[in-house]
Symmetry: C2
């Protein structure tokens, strides 16, 4: 994920990011009980230097709430059909309030049973998947997540998209340290990277995407308009995307990636995609000396010149962003202000006529 | 996996494969209560056309039992520390009897809790991982497996091996059909493919492996003697290998890949690697119409010219091998006969002196 920061933009503290996000979401009709979960995730993405999933995505969230593609007022519904299974129906609303609603029940079930799962259906783009698994790991649990998305990767041997970029994420609790977080899409890059390049008017490197005819392209527009994403590692990336699809889409009862509407435009109603989380209470299995064994594994990586642990860039960004704030393009800032104001105007209209 | 069959070899029916495998294992001192699980997996690998994990691996199993690197008489021990967790200690013996011992308890726990896991520690090479998850799926459960192996993949940015080729496998039950099985290593190819090329005296393609200096090589010997395997999709393959390592090695309490002795030579005692299986009773989550939704997903793949489902080559091999049998190199046949006879001679010696 990119942490490129344009010169001549608008500098914001993380507190200002939070305030701007909250105003924009509320102004677009998001229920105050749902807004906090989304805002917290946008702030966390910016704090971790993952700008593609932070304010850069917020105009889409606002637009989808404004036009009703996503029901900003939907309240998630939770049940636990089995001792180890928690299910949350996002009801066509935002993903974040649905996931936040399910996480405490997931953690409780994992601690009681040793292993538990949370299935979120009728959901939407959940932003940085690592953000969610990290919060599970902060409860001392090992966490694994599968997330589907509108189809953009072709199966092995085929040319038509069947799988989303379908990320997988892992978080491992560490004694006295932030959890290790690994978060990677099944494609060479996350689709949001291509969106960011399009927003900046920059070409994409060859090898990221194919155009609608299956030919390699450097044009982000050609990639996004009917093209496909290249899976990482060829057929093995497509294989991983299938694993993710089975858990995140099929098992949760969410829309398959082939049936999900776009995360980007206003058409087709809610994407109704899914998220699937597994949480494990590791104490009973990993046993005595598990902390030392974990750090021995990580030390075998960090002890090599040039090697680093996944997520280490986030950790260093976290300190830098908290101290310095972030800089976003003027145009993005203006767009977000417009959502915050237009929505506010619309809201005033409601108050006047209501 | 290769299904290349050398001309001028020895043709065997699957019944003859079973008989030869059983004789060789028993002759090398494997306990009759352990032998059946190993033999069944060797026959299944040959039946599926995965020769690299069938009789081609049997000389190593025999040799390890003969010299005591693997304790052929070890009996696995099972406990269930939590309602959703089953643990099997393979006690430095073969993997297959340990996994077979744990599978019924895993399936029972998954049906009771909705989700359950089986952690196998102090284990060994388990052959085709897909074989094990397929058997879980035959109980109507969705299955995911993680398996570690002696270190052969370097972490991103590094040059020294930290992860094994660490495969991941998925099996999905299908109404009236064999389960869908996906089984892929974190490396570009499974290490066994390189072993098979070495046995045949054939070079390996560039891009499969690096030599001990980190340089690309076509020499299988250079790859196996201090070299590393190339991860599929670059750092994303190394990332997947880390996910697998956390579950299969760290969580199970097995040896980390960096601490595991070779699966190939006689040195260093048992590798004591691990396997981790997750089984899910899908009915409560996937809900009504889940069969149709699954086949709709698979149809979006098989409906494309040139695309195929993972595991479909195995299914067609299964019919061909059952009808025609297999052909193995004369040299491999002679080696296996020698294990079967030498072991038998040693066994007679025990009987005479016992």
């Amino acid at each position: 994920m990119s942490d490129h920061q344009p010169a001549g933009g608008v500098r914001l503290s993380l507190a200002e990011v939070e305030e701007l996000t909250r105003r924009a979401l509320l102004a677009c009709g998001v229920d105050p009980r749902n807004e906090g979960a989304i805002t917290a995730s946008v702030v966390a993405a910016e704090a971790d230097g993952i700008h593609s999933h932070g304010l850069a995505r917020l105009p889409t969230y606002c637009e989808h709430a404004r036009v009703g593609k996503i029901d900003g007022k939907a309240r998630p519904v939770l049940d636990s059909p089995r001792p180890g299974l928690v299910r949350v129906d996002a009801k066509g609303g935002f993903a974040h309030p649905a996931i936040d609603f399910g996480l405490p029940a997931l953690c409780e079930a994992a601690k009681a049973q040793g292993i538990a799962a949370l299935a979120v259906s009728n959901s939407y783009n959940c932003g940085v998947v690592g953000y969610h698994v990290e919060r599970i790991a902060q409860h001392g649990l090992l966490a694994l997540a599968f997330v589907n998305a509108p189809a953009s990767i072709a199966p092995m041997g085929g040319t038509k998209p069947v799988f989303g970029t379908n990320p997988i994420a892992l978080a491992v609790p560490r004694a006295g340290l932030d959890p290790l977080v690994l978060d990677q899409s099944s494609s060479v890059v996350a689709k949001s990277e291509i969106v960011v390049h399009q927003q900046r008017g920059e070409p994409i490197p060859l090898g990221w995407a194919l155009d609608r005819d299956g030919e390699p392209t450097t044009d982000p527009k050609a990639a996004l308009a009917g093209g496909t994403m290249v899976p990482a590692g060829g057929y093995k990336g497509a294989g991983l995307a299938l694993i993710v699809e089975i858990f995140a889409a099929w098992l949760t009862g969410a829309n398959l990636s082939i049936d999900a509407s776009s995360f980007a435009d206003n058409l087709g109603g809610s994407p109704r995609t899914g998220q699937f989380f597994i949480a494990i209470d590791t104490g009973a299995l990993a046993g005595d000396g598990s902390t030392e064994r974990l750090e021995r594994l990580f030390g075998a990586i960090t002890g090599q010149e040039g090697a680093r642990l996944p997520g280490s860039r986030r950790t260093s960004a976290r300190q830098r962003m908290a101290a310095q704030g972030i800089t976003i393009p003027q145009k993005l800032f203006d767009t977000l202000q417009a959502y915050a104001s237009a929505g506010a105007a619309a809201q005033r209209g409601v108050e006047l006529t209501g």
